[in-house]
């Protein structure tokens, strides 16, 4: 709970800082909420969908001509380091040869918009605001440097493609629907293999190709129940975990020899 409060506070600070960034004065305010701030993953969890809804609040300084808005929602999960490896044919068999390290990249990443990114803003704004999987910053270690590479880089595109196949990276430019010109909603699908941790949701409002408002919210995914207990114990207390597994194996074997005893 404490964590969320501090997060909300930092969001507010960020929002304040951002309000000075766009040249036009902050004429719109975004009010958003997710349907559930704490998703619990139980043993029979097979994925679910959160709903994010919100509205665009105009004030007196909003230009009267401004009626059409575009919205981009970026959901990014806990960050982790990952390695992408490529197989090549060597001596007639397929072997992992080359690899690339991805540093501190989100384990879950979803980008939703109400229409294609190209229609929302020009390529320069798309790149600066990281709109779309092609523009999101995915830091790689390239030799001694840390950098992102061009979107069509073999390792980067394979990385994005593999994450997308597992439903962990996704991009949908028709997921955000405006119910009224100022009221919007979007679904956030969470697959069965969703990583646990804190998920940041960043909502950006565009009008005429420029960012006009921005806000953040967050939700948390926790695993509960026996499975999570097992996973945590195995990581934090490998020795005890090993002992218990050994005891379990011996018990099962012993029980079987009693149950099926023939002599």
């Amino acid at each position: 709970m404490i964590r969320r409060v501090s997060l909300a506070a930092s969001c507010a600070v960020l929002g304040l800082a951002m309000s000075f960034a766009p040249s036009s004065a902050q004429a719109e305010r975004l009010i958003v909420s997710v349907s559930n701030h704490r998703v619990t993953v139980t043993p029979n969890y097979s994925g679910e969908e959160l709903v994010l809804f919100g509205s665009v609040e105009k004030d007196a300084s909003t230009p009267a001509s401004r009626t059409a808005y575009d919205l981009v929602v970026t959901v990014s999960g806990p960050r982790a380091d990952m390695v992408t490896r490529r197989k090549e044919r060597k001596f007639g068999i397929w072997i992992n040869t080359d690899y690339r390290q991805f540093l501190h990249v989100p384990a879950y990443l979803a980008l939703f918009a109400n229409r294609p990114f190209d229609a929302i803003a020009n390529p320069e704004v798309q790149r600066r605001q990281q709109l779309g999987l092609n523009n999101v910053l995915l830091t790689q270690r390239v030799g001694p440097d840390y950098a992102d590479v061009v979107p069509n880089d073999a390792f980067r595109s394979a990385f994005v493609r593999l994450r997308s196949e597992h439903g962990l990276y996704r991009e949908d430019t028709s997921a955000v629907t405006f119910l009224t010109p100022t009221l919007f909603r979007t679904g956030i699908p969470l697959p069965a293999a969703v990583p646990i941790g804190t998920y940041n949701v960043e909502i950006k409002l565009f009008s005429d190709g420029a960012l006009v408002a921005r806000t953040e919210t967050a939700f948390e995914i926790v695993k509960v129940g026996f499975e999570q207990f097992v996973a945590t114990t195995s990581r934090q207390d490998g020795f005890v975990y090993g002992l218990v597994t050994m005891a379990m194996a011996l018990m099962t074997g012993w029980m079987a020899s009693i149950v099926f005893r023939k002599d």
Partner: protein, 308 residues
């Protein structure tokens, strides 16, 4: 019924796992082997990563070999002295194996090494068994008597120093080859997720000349202890043992083994060897095909840590 495996990190069907456990248990009971060489590939084929499969199958084999070892112990078919000497090598081999496993995993070559060792080991052992079984069947058909073991035919192994008397097996043998066999079995067991019974038993019979009365019971003791040790080491170093997965496999496995053992008694020895040889060969070839054909996806991703 879907169940989420905590370490393997995938949802699986409980009944599928139970059925796999029972099927492998049936085969292992029929042939008197641990069945790890079948279980690990099956788990890999249903989508569990080779690393988790190898580590979890270790505890599954421990359970089935413990129930086997108990019944052999009651029948006094275990040679404690021989088992101890084998074990001294077995524990060293297991520790080396888990060390190698961890190293290969960090290099990203673990899956390849597991597949390669399966290909080499299974096609060789399976091929030899199949050939041997076929030959003895043909010999029986032609009515030629099986050549008996020539007593007193001592190979170079029996000329080694540090000889020791193994009372229950009634053999007088150097401890060096016994320890070496223990190391080798422990090593490949830890790296490949197999008990090694299907290699150990032939080696003990043909190389060490251990009588058949004690060979299976004693090999089960080695399997039991090396697999328990491997479970522990995999749990401490790699955190890859999936206890939930292991428990389901164990329950299916020990049940299937009982029915398999009964079925095995109805089949002739040489037919049994021929069948087992074919089975081992088939698994080996399956791995070989996987290595040679172009993979569906040339890229793979692995998390290396830092997840919040």
């Amino acid at each position: 019924m879907q169940l989420y495996l905590p370490i393997a990190d995938i949802p699986v069907n409980v009944f599928l796992l139970l059925a796999m456990g029972a099927a492998v248990g049936f085969v292992s009971g029929m042939f008197g082997i641990g069945g790890g060489f079948l279980m690990t590939p099956l788990l890999i084929f249903i989508g569990i990563t080779p690393a988790v499969a190898v580590a979890s199958v270790a505890s599954h084999i421990a359970a089935s070999s413990f129930s086997g070892a108990l019944s052999y112990w009651r029948r006094r078919a275990i040679d404690p002295a021989l088992a101890l000497v084998l074990l001294s090598g077995g524990t060293v081999g297991t520790a080396l194996g888990v060390g190698t496993f961890t190293l290969l995993r960090s290099l990203g070559q673990l899956d390849l090494m597991i597949a390669l060792s399966y290909v080499v080991l299974l096609t060789t052992v399976g091929g030899l068994m199949f050939w041997e079984g076929l030959r003895s069947i043909l010999r029986v058909r032609r009515g030629v008597a099986l050549p008996m073991r020539r007593s007193g035919s001592h190979g170079w192994i029996h000329g080694l120093p540090l000889k020791m008397r193994f009372k229950r097996s009634k053999i007088y043998l150097s401890v060096i080859p016994v320890v070496v066999v223990g190391i080798v079995i422990g090593f490949i067991g830890a790296v490949m997720g197999i008990g090694g019974g299907f290699i150990l038993v032939p080696i003990m019979i043909y190389v060490l000349r251990v009588p058949t009365s004690t060979v299976i019971g004693t090999s089960m003791v080695l399997t039991l202890v090396t697999m328990l040790f491997a479970t522990m080491l995999h749990a401490v170093t790699n955190h890859l043992v999936d206890a939930v997965l292991a428990l389901i496999l164990m329950v299916g496995g020990v049940t299937g083994a009982q029915f398999g053992a009964r079925a095995g008694q109805k089949i002739r020895g040489e037919h049994l060897r021929l069948l087992l040889g074919l089975l081992i060969l088939a698994v080996g070839i399956r791995f070989a095909i996987e290595l040679v054909i172009r993979p569906e996806d040339l890229f793979t991703i692995r998390e290396t840590g830092g997840a919040a």
